[in-house]
């Protein structure tokens, strides 16, 4: 197994607040990793460090052993990292198809891009929305179209920040199936705090608490651990 993405003692400070406090973590090729933790645990900040949106205060980030700490988001994306943000980030004025085509257009010609874009929309079962302006879509549909944009270029790693935020129970269920299916071909990191969803998909779980890694283990052991329960209930952890 090769390590795809790794962080080494990653620290992110905002003024006096240390949001991420020395996180060391490694994601293997083909892995499905969940990062969980209550609100304010530092998950989203950590996510933004991984994607180049924040430059960490100290520590390093590696992609296949290469130091990528200083890279900008577009350069991180070019390595083969597909990124889905918490609030769906789409081209509202463009149609679903146009958006997905743009996701592919960097690597492929126009015709090939359209072909692959249609495939991606079909895979996410939103092909019927191809000519609809994305700004007019419902929240759940937007999430799926964004996923199509992320998945279409076939990235080596997909990072999802709270993919089920704002989804109905039914949609969340479908998303879980989808993520398991995507994991057959892509390594995936999911940042989430919906425990039901994590239960449905998780293999390895990393628990964040106050900017640090509280524990990292197989899903069932994590869920059985009393410390994790305490963190979620807001109790102090020794």
């Amino acid at each position: 197994m090769t390590v795809l993405l790794a962080t080494e003692a990653l620290v992110m400070r905002f003024g006096g607040v240390t949001a991420v406090d020395g996180v060391t973590l490694a994601v293997q090729e083909g892995e499905l990793r969940c990062l969980i933790g209550p609100n304010g645990a530092g998950k989203s900040t950590f996510f933004k460090c991984l994607t180049g949106q924040y430059k960490p205060t100290s520590g390093r980030i590696f992609w296949r052993g290469r130091d990528i700490t200083a890279l900008d988001p577009f350069a991180v994306a070019r390595l083969g990292v597909g990124i889905k943000t918490q609030v769906p980030s789409l081209f509202d004025g463009l149609t679903a198809l146009e958006g997905v085509v743009l996701a592919l257009r960097r690597q492929h010609g126009e015709r090939e891009s359209r072909h692959r874009a249609m495939q991606a929309l079909e895979r996410l079962q939103v092909a019927q929305l191809r000519d609809v302006r994305v700004g007019l879509l419902a929240h759940g549909q937007r999430q799926l179209v964004e996923l199509a944009m992320v998945v279409a270029p076939e990235p080596d790693l997909i990072i999802l920040d709270e993919p089920t935020a704002g989804m109905s129970a039914e949609e969340t269920h479908r998303a879980a199936d989808l993520i398991r299916e995507l994991n057959r071909e892509h390594a995936i990191v999911v940042v989430e705090h919906d425990m039901q969803f994590i239960r449905a998909i998780a293999r390895t779980v990393t628990v964040f608490h106050q900017g640090r890694v509280l524990m990292e283990d197989a899903a069932e052991r994590v869920f059985a651990d009393p410390r994790v329960r305490d963190v979620y209930l807001g109790k102090a952890v020794a």
Binding site: A77, T85, G93, G99
Partner: protein, 329 residues
């Protein structure tokens, strides 16, 4: 795609009609005025492209307009031939736009400050150009002339033949052809991957970046193209009037914004139509001296914001579509 082809065909037709017909019917003064309108329309188009499609609100598009004009005048006077003065006059505003764009986009300046910075740039140039009276401000044999500008701006001549200068009728044709070419170039740019990414950046900068596109580079390149076009507008303007600090002035800088908004932000023809229509109106009002042109401009702008908030062209399009539907039903 068919609509784009139709639009291009219509523009070529109108341009050809104007270029061939207007010099026959208009008197010399009116024709020179029409040339001014057309050169301004190129300026409006340049802002329509970068603001309407790239989302870059440049409040100082006139900086590149004026730089183009001044560079042309200074080079033409020094070379004694306009053949090389034109490319030089296009290069100067393009390079300045690229440099300014580099500072703004790579410095990740937010939209509001971009407006402030670009406006300040043109106002600094305005101040500077105004304070260049006196012999110490000669570039070669060309005096910058301070407040008065360079009244002796030479008109274009046939390539490498300084003796045969173009007549005002010919300069009008050149201006119309330039406008049509700029329009076609903008349309083409928007069809390329680069143009589509630029539009995507306007829609959502973060998403474009997360798809692996270098947002800063795209914005910089589009901004430089806008600077080039505005510079061309300046060269044309210098050919029908003469260059003076007014080209950098706040009143011009503000007017370009109004033309684009009234005509229709997010279209290419809208800014051109808005520019020509408003200039026609204000010039008319000015010649009757019944109303103050600036007052009229303000009224037109307010009316447009209230009645056609999306601009003339998009509103006309919507109305037509509605009519067609009613006719079809």
């Amino acid at each position: 795609m068919r609509r784009a082809a139709l639009e291009i065909a219509a523009v070529v037709l109108v341009a050809a009609l104007a270029a061939l017909g207007l010099p026959q019917v208009l008197e010399l003064f009116a024709l020179i005025n029409a040339t001014v309108f057309v050169s301004m329309a190129v300026l409006a188009l340049s802002l329509g492209l970068i603001w309407g499609y790239g989302g870059i609100l440049c409040f100082g598009q006139t900086a590149f307009f004026g730089l183009g004009g001044y560079a042309y005048a200074v080079a033409a006077i020094n070379f004694g031939d306009t053949t090389l003065a034109v490319p030089l006059a296009l290069a100067v505003p393009t390079v300045v736009a690229a440099a300014l764009g580099y500072l703004m986009f790579y410095g990740r300046i937010s939209d509001v400050y971009m407006g402030v910075i670009t406006l300040t740039t043109t106002l600094i140039l305005f101040k500077f150009a105004n304070s260049t009276a006196g012999d110490e401000w000669n570039i070669g044999s060309a005096p910058l002339g301070g407040f008065n500008g360079i009244p002796g701006t030479p008109p274009l001549n046939w390539p490498f033949d300084p003796a045969s200068q173009l007549a005002p009728e010919q300069i009008f044709v050149v201006a119309v052809v330039c406008l049509a070419l700029c329009y076609a170039a903008a349309r083409l740019i928007l069809r390329t991957r680069f143009g589509r990414v630029a539009v995507a950046i306007r829609e959502n900068e973060l998403r474009a970046e997360l798809l692996g596109y270098d947002v800063r580079l795209h914005k910089l390149a589009l901004f430089a193209v806008g600077g080039l076009m505005a510079g061309l507008a300046g060269v044309l303007f210098a050919n029908c009037v003469f260059v003076s600090p007014t080209m950098f002035s706040l009143s011009y800088a503000g007017q370009v914004i109004i033309w684009v908004l009234v005509g229709g932000l997010g279209t290419l023809l809208g800014p051109v139509i808005g520019c020509i229509l408003i200039q026609f109106l204000t010039t008319r009002a000015g010649s009757f001296s019944a109303v103050d042109p600036n007052l009229l401009l303000g009224v037109v702008f307010m009316l447009a914001v209230v009645v056609v908030p999306k601009g003339l062209l998009p509103s006309a399009r919507t109305a037509l579509v509605r009519l067609a539907k009613r006719g079809g039903a």
